[in-house]
Symmetry: C2
Subunit: 137 residues, 2 copies
């Protein structure tokens, strides 16, 4: 039943709505209860990072208005920027057609990457090489 939630939305019309709780029930969490989340800068459109949320992290993010992920390495909630100050203020949260990915648009304070680069995607393929394309702030 829940698996059908997103399938049934494929033919929904512009402006149609469903209850948030129903959508959260219908999301396809992986075996660890997690779903991948893309963080995009709301202003520049820059893709900042990819991280993971469980249902609790999604709810915290929406309630508090700042991105809160699930840290797989620490097995705990991870309020992005809680130690660095590089918070991500939420401006929009979107689910995809299959209910197995999330996009958050955020206002990023400071660099998004733990290396102090503006975003995490700083390694670009260039022929048979990979090149570092940004430097820490």
């Amino acid at each position: 039943m829940e698996a059908e939630t997103f399938k049934s939305l494929e033919s929904a019309s512009l402006g149609d709505t469903l209850r948030l709780t129903e959508a959260l029930d219908g999301l396809k969490y992986n075996a660890d209860g997690l779903i991948p989340v893309i963080a995009q800068d709301a202003g520049s459109g820059e893709v900042l990072m990819l991280a993971w949320m469980n249902r609790g992290a999604i709810e915290r993010t929406l309630e508090e208005g700042y991105a809160c992920y699930w840290s797989r390495s620490r097995a705990s909630y991870w309020r992005k920027g809680e130690s660095s100050g590089h918070l991500q203020k939420l401006t929009a949260m979107r689910f995809d057609c299959d209910g197995d990915a999330i996009l958050v648009k955020v206002d990023q304070s400071g660099p998004a990457c733990h290396t102090n680069r503006p975003n995490c995607f700083y390694l670009e393929v260039d022929g048979d090489q990979v090149r570092v394309i940004s430097k820490p702030r």
Copy 2:
């Protein structure tokens, strides 16, 4: 050893390179041999979709210049657009700091979503509702 590849790049300087094969060896594939891939429109910056690649799909994408994913539902390679014609011409491929996510910038032909919407993220949270924010072309 391979797990150290991306760790050692954290302190690399702008313009530093490593061999692509070494980077592909060092990526953190999940238990199914897959890594999440964000597809972003190279022109508009719009995030189009999230899909998955295994190493073979990464190599095909780079060799052929068009995004080729691994379909988890069909358990086969999935040349995006091979049936719909909605191909994704690769303009850049980037790896993230941890080597566990990929960003591809693409020129998208037609709608990216199988529902014929421009992108897959057409369900936006609005208070205690989720709203359909785009319609099929």
